[in-house]
């Protein structure tokens, strides 16, 4: 029997108090995610239960019980306090998927500071923009990433402490850098948990928009109420599960469900800190007897590409529930997983801004391959008419996916950007920026983005940000960035570039520009293809018409071109 039982029965008369009661929380109480994920689980008698099985390069393995993670998070929290980190200060995690990332996340929350996770593959420009915007006080990182931070340090006066978790020797450290080795630190048995309340800021995740710079999505400790219940009802986490969330905590899935959802429910989870390799993933599942697996369509399609023979080499009989998130899960992937694992992947849909799963396929509910599923109990999800912003009643008509605000993990604002936050609402609805249709049984079917943002491998990339960075390359006169279809990543970044005089449109220039963006922004933002053009399509007022280029890439009608400059 699944945790959710009957979806229809759960929807009727739903109230978030069901989650509050299970967590022993009452309105006005202190609610601290760091405490709930560690100390509380120990108090429930699970101190000796495994919380984390971590595996890195060369089969290196570390194991932590819930008491271990309680002590480790206390120790990190105490160290940060000792540096003078105060409640509300922003502390960035800029780490690969090492244990300090998971433990640091909760240690920061325990002392009331705001945790700012950033993807460790970010280039120096992406890093600078986000740290500058958040006025981050401290960063926890690894020596391999310190060089990127040193490059931008002069432009970050607020960044006082760069904590290196694996420094070879203190003398190798430079200005503002300090060594902290968790394994060698004296465990802190007792830490005064900061008495955070429901609306105390907790996590600041950055996400890309269609225009402007990345936005800091601000969440609060009360988000736990949503994350706990969705982890139970969608991921179906139970006491004897071995759970693997493949997402990197540099992104929201990796924190909401790779840390909070897993440990607030007292679940044992595994982490594999290796780049993607099909064989390594299959071995990992077999070795640790993973039962619940939360992954992404890009990874699933990569596994499909690796073939079925490799699956048969490993025992995956431990698996009992598969869930996917990040981008639409194509029907072929669902059918494939049923064939090779005997289990269908359950697609789930949500965003950095929503903090937890909004629409999903649930255990026990009929799956329609390719569908996003239905709204989580307590969530009112609709598609809106794009002109009137009113719910569309008739099944099958495409509209904007919108949500009625008010669930616990809804973002509270964009950091220092209230105006953009307010623009996300129309007629009282939160606009996701995605389009879908709803069928006559209430299932949502994803159609696409409602803006120019590129969803590549489940991560959003702003074309504006890439175009801005391209202009900083010496050869680029002007550029336009759009998505193009991709078999594995659904879509990838493509740039149209007009070169300055004196620069040749050849493969070496293309490679130089690709590497420039990769190092400046991130590998995700790097154009996978650059097409050199003499000029870009523009309106008569000189605005680049991205939609014309986008339509060509996707084989769509280019629509009204009456405003095209050269028409």
């Amino acid at each position: 029997m699944s945790n959710i039982g009957s979806y229809d029965a759960r929807v009727k008369g739903f109230d978030w108090s069901v989650s509050e009661q299970e967590l022993g929380y009452k309105k006005g109480d202190v609610i601290n995610i760091g405490w709930y994920c560690t100390d509380r689980i120990c108090q429930l008698g699970k101190a000796d239960k495994l919380a984390l099985i971590w595996e890195g390069q060369g089969g290196k393995e570390k194991r932590y019980t819930f008491n271990d993670i309680r002590l480790a998070t206390n120790t990190i929290g105490a160290f940060l306090k000792g540096l003078g980190i105060k409640p509300g200060d922003r502390v960035c995690l800029f780490l690969d998927k090492v244990p300090e990332l998971y433990l640091g996340f909760l240690g920061i929350l325990k002392i009331g500071a705001i945790v700012q996770p950033l993807f460790s593959a970010f280039g120096d420009e992406s890093l600078h923009v986000r740290l500058d915007n958040a006025e981050t006080t401290a960063m926890i990182t690894q020596k391999k990433h310190v060089a990127k931070v040193r490059k931008i340090l002069d432009k970050l006066p607020a960044l006082k402490h760069i904590i290196v978790v694996d420094a070879d020797a203190p003398q190798a450290l430079k200005e503002r850098e300090i060594s902290f080795n968790l394994a060698q630190a004296a465990p802190v048995e007792h830490l005064d948990i900061h008495p955070t309340l429901a609306e105390t800021p907790s996590v600041l995740h950055y996400t890309s928009g269609t225009t402007g710079m990345p936005k800091g999505v601000q969440h609060v400790h009360y988000s736990l109420i949503s994350q706990y219940l969705t982890a139970k009802w969608v991921l179906d986490l139970k006491d004897d599960d071995i759970y693997w969330c493949t997402a990197d905590p540099g992104w929201v899935t990796g924190t909401s469900y790779g840390i909070i959802g897993a440990w607030a429910t007292g679940t044992t989870q595994c982490v594999l800190d290796l780049g993607f390799m099909a064989e390594a993933w299959y071995k990992f599942i077999a070795k640790h007897k993973v039962t619940v697996w939360y992954s992404a369509p890009t990874a699933i399609r990569s596994l499909m590409k690796a073939g079925e023979e490799i699956v048969k080499k490993h025992d995956h009989s431990s698996l009992r529930h598969l869930v996917s998130v990040g981008e639409p899960l194509n029907p072929e992937a669902v059918i494939w997983s049923e064939k090779v694992f005997g289990l269908a992947f359950h697609d789930s849909y949500w965003q950095t801004e929503t903090g937890s799963i909004m629409i999903s396929n649930y255990p026990g509910m009929k799956i329609k391959p390719g569908s996003m599923g239905k709204a989580f109990p307590g969530i009112t999800a609709v598609v809106l008419d794009p002109d009137k912003y009113e719910p569309i009643a008739e099944p099958g008509r495409i509209g904007l996916i919108a949500l009625e605000p008010g669930w616990p993990s809804m973002m509270r604002t964009y950091w220092k950007n209230e105006a953009t936050y307010r623009n996300k609402f129309k007629n009282g609805w939160y606009l996701t920026g995605d389009r879908a249709r709803i069928d006559n049984e209430g299932y949502f079917w994803f159609v696409g983005r409602d803006d120019d943002v590129i969803n590549t491998g489940g991560h959003l990339v702003s074309p504006f940000e890439v175009e801005s960075a391209l202009l900083e390359h010496e050869a680029v006169a002007e550029s336009a960035v759009v998505s193009k279809p991709d078999e594995i990543n659904m879509e990838v970044v493509k740039a149209f570039v007009a070169l300055k005089p004196g620069f040749a449109a050849n493969p070496d220039t293309e490679l130089a520009i690709m590497n420039f963006i990769r190092k400046k922004l991130s590998p995700l933002a790097m154009p996978q293809e650059i097409e050199f053009v003499d000029s870009l399509p523009k309106t008569r007022s000189g605005k680049i018409m991205r939609r014309v280029l986008h339509a060509k890439e996707w084989g769509q009608d280019i629509g009204d071109t009456s405003t095209l400059e050269n028409d």
């Binding site: 390069q57 690969d96 593959a121 020596k143 391999k144 990433h145 310190v146 060089a147 990127k148 070879d168 800190d273 290796l274 780049g275 993607f276 390799m277 099909a278 064989e279 390594a280 990569s302 590409k305 690796a306 590549t456 491998g457 594995i488 990838v492 493969p507 070496d508 293309e510 490679l511 690709m514 590497n515 990769r518 590998p523 995700l524 790097m526 996978q528």
Partner: protein, 81 residues
Amino acid sequence: MDDMQKIILEYVTREYLEDDSQTINPDTPLISGGIVDSFSMVSLKRFLENKYGISIPDDKATPEAFDTVNKICTLVREFKK
């Protein structure tokens, strides 16, 4: 180490290693070791194609085939023939 190994090793070191003190050899795992991710593989593939005047089909450009400099050399030689 032959010329191809040296050239590719030097390119990977220059373009993909963030930490100056980190060293790699022809058998260091690049993909599984997190030095080159699946997105960055595209630029590495482009470098090899430009440098050696070859075209590597997408179905041959797998994470496994790109996981070490030695494996990459084997792949390049296959298409240089």
